[in-house]
Symmetry: C4
Subunit: 297 residues, 4 copies
């Protein structure tokens, strides 16, 4: 619908559902969060047979209630937004749909009921909701650091996958089906399990040569785990330092002094005329009022 027909109540609704600056918006987010978590707990309990047998009806009914709530929310989201299609085709739009649809479909095809579990994906909304909370302050650094080292981490993961492919193929040739390395994809799965130091042990080399190669893979994996860590921690350190810098400047401008971690002007002269202090080391005149600064030295 065009801008014209976009009515006031829609704007209000949008503010509540998508925004979080108004009390109503905040409330909506919190309630939504609780309902999402409740719905996931429900799905979990339902998946535990013993519990499901005991409380099947209760679980089923509350499931329906939540499904209806989600459906209403879904509809409200569609009618309140300016470009409904954009929302419907967006990642969150699809997730929201997937978290309601299966329940309805399960009326016709009971088999599909398990798909209700897909609403666990709604948990991702938690991030968007918590963005509003004080955690942002905590995670923004993190985000920038990770973003900054994204490309590097990509290269790294890329190398890991290639290594896994090559090692997997070699192990397939060396160990063969006898030891559970049935085919190359499975061997690659194994070498990822090994490179990442997870080591399930569902598949393990038995031939001496295989164990030797496995040892190499493990030591390699043990060694290269240092790489992403090094990257992130270096990037993060850089970010932190930059921030210190910015903070320092801010403080400087605000509190009218430039005492920072990196401060190099350490003299303690203060102007007799305007009491401004923290002058440059070689200042002869007050940077504030131009009054002469007698050297205390």
């Amino acid at each position: 619908m065009g801008k014209k027909q976009y009515r006031n109540w829609q704007a209000k609704l949008h503010e509540v559902i998508y925004g979080a600056d108004t009390p109503a918006g905040k409330l909506f987010d919190v309630v939504l969060l609780i309902v999402i978590i409740a719905s996931i707990v429900l799905v979990m309990l339902e998946s535990v047979r013993s519990i499901d047998e005991k409380y099947h009806d209760f679980l089923n009914i509350s499931e329906w209630i939540i499904t209806v709530l989600f459906t209403i929310e879904y509809i409200l989201r569609i009618i309140s937004v300016k470009k409904p299609l954009k929302y419907i085709t967006s990642f969150y739009g699809i997730v929201d749909l997937l978290s309601t649809l299966p329940k309805y479909i399960s009326l016709i095809f009971p088999g599909t009921h398990a798909l209700v579990a897909l609403r666990a994906l709604r948990l991702l909304r938690v991030f968007r909701i918590l963005k509003l909370a004080r955690f942002l302050g905590a995670s923004i650094h993190l985000g920038t650091a990770i973003k900054a080292s994204r490309a590097k981490i990509f290269v790294f993961l890329f190398a890991v996958i290639i290594a896994a492919t090559i090692f997997g193929t070699i192990m397939y040739l060396v160990e063969g089906e006898a030891s559970g390395f049935d085919n190359i994809p499975k061997s690659i799965y194994w070498s990822i399990v090994t490179l990442t130091t997870v080591g399930f042990g569902d598949i393990a080399p038995v031939t001496p040569l295989g164990q030797f190669i496995a040892s190499l893979i493990m030591i390699l994996g043990y060694g290269i785990i240092a790489v992403p860590t090094g990257i992130v921690s270096a990037e993060y350190t850089r970010k932190v330092n930059m921030d210190n810098q910015l903070a320092a400047n801010a403080a400087a401008n605000a509190a009218h002094e430039t005492a920072t971690v990196n401060e190099v002007d350490l003299n303690t002269k203060s102007c007799r005329n305007c009491t401004a202090d923290n002058h440059k080391d070689k200042a002869e005149f007050c940077y504030k009022c131009g009054h002469y600064l007698p050297s205390k030295r």
Copy 2:
């Protein structure tokens, strides 16, 4: 009991039991530490059937001795402190109670005897006691670094848990009960086992798709372990640098020069003509007025 009735002998007792500045206090802490460790070793040995059968009486008797000692300590702590209730309801108060009670209860309900093991929690006192030792110097940085990155690590763990929930649900749908993913909670347990690169292997994916998703989880887990490490090491580096800085400034103010971490000109000559100081190390003439700088060296 009110401040009025709080008598002198209580103060003394308190000083010995809770303090560690007096020789008596130190001694008490050390003895306590030894008794705690002894009691835990006892519980361990007792839990080993073969040993328990051989030395049951000895173990039982020494258990009683320690229980009595702990009981006395517990009572002394109560009567020596000003606000007994505060201690009793405190974490350490409850732990201390839990480390004595089970033994007495086991007289009536033998089944509960195993709970004696709960006194392992008393080990936590070790931290409070060692706080007094030279390790503080070692762990204070650590503490501050961890505290500084607490919020960030929380966000991180939070993300890990959400990822585990989503992956767990997906794996439950993909693998199902056939491969041991009996229900969603168990699948979540599995994805935590995998994300953290622990990989017990008690449950492992068997379907190709499941193994593919598992590979993604592992690589993800392998990659994100870099995040907390990066955080802590960056925070820690910052702490260390700040310290260096403070030390430097102190030196600077004391020695009347601007030697900072970044300072490279460290000589203390000052021009007789214009009092300008902070000359280059090799300066022979004032960079300000061109006056000759007599070498103080």
Copy 3:
């Protein structure tokens, strides 16, 4: 063949096959990359029995096509390069040969067919090809950091291997064949599995003493994983800082100001009276001559 006979068409061919500056060269690299990946996917699918049975003919034919393509490439590489022997004996030369030969040999000895999988090694070319892509920018730091800490990481891995040997021998003596520690090499394999925190569990200590030593190994491995990480991240931080510095200097010289990583006064006012610049951000008067500084803002 000597430089004399080296003809023009060869130069062209060489430019296309080995170079990547010309459109043709780029195209060749991209096509090659796709064919390599396709060939590996083929080998993977072939190794999965169920798939192989269904599409055996299709897989076999496409295998032959790729093998022929690789053979042609191999020949072209030989005739286009100035020193064919140097290429043939080079690592990539051998890999390229290994990726074609097995298929032909399998005509005579069908058993050797599996060796076709060796062409997975061709994946390594990906690195050379991607060198041309934007990832270089991302991985160059990485490369230098790793190179810088190469020697250190070598020492580290060396220590890990020695530790593994000693622990392996001890575990062999402690656990013996009963628990699967059949011989020393296998025990060493186990201790590498443990030190690197992979922990397959295909072999695990059962005697209390063995489990105690295993605990020591694990804690050691858990502790020392910090070492390579520390190295890389420190080296990497250093690299990053150096870069910042260089960038800063460049900027400084270029933009005629001394904005450095540590610079806090960033304004670019310069005094009309004495041309002194680098004033404090809030300066209203020249710190050098006291002349009024008109605000450029």
Copy 4:
């Protein structure tokens, strides 16, 4: 034997055996290193039954040769050193003895033959020998960094062990013998396996509560692995920076300029009179000859 009787040939011998500055000393070290590695390879091969059965005589004879060589070395070490007792009682002295004795004892008690494997401990000599090699340069930083964070890492490992004890006890109470948590020591072994993210899977929780607690332990272990890494990498960064600083100052004093990583004087003026450059940013006169520096700005 006192200093008096300490004869010249002993000094020579000592120089060869313990020293490495003379060609003879270097040669001795290298030969020793080879023999040690050979002896360990022998022990390994011997431990592999199939190989032992084939080449038993050859292995046995070469074992005897090496044992005799080691015995001679041991005797030479004793007679060449000034304080024989000090060597005999030293760690290396005991190791050297343990690497020869078992073979002789096995003549009387064949059972003890396996103890020959103890000579793997001789590998530790490799460190002392390689100290002489170029690796020192690589590992000295490492050493200092680790030493600097020794206390901190100790505190950390200490915390890990306490955590393992408490979690182990709790898991023993929760899971009990049914799931393989037979006794507390074994549970502690399990929680170390889990905390260190090794995860053999030889023991794994089966009860929901147990799996929940296990999840907590894993996430904790996953989180705290950041701590030692953070420490080492921070300490290491500090070491590196200090070095840069020292190097910079050295360079400054030596090469008569102060261009360092931390350089803040970035102007490019050079004195017309004496061509000295790299003046302070605000220099008006050459710090070398006092000649006036015209401002290029």
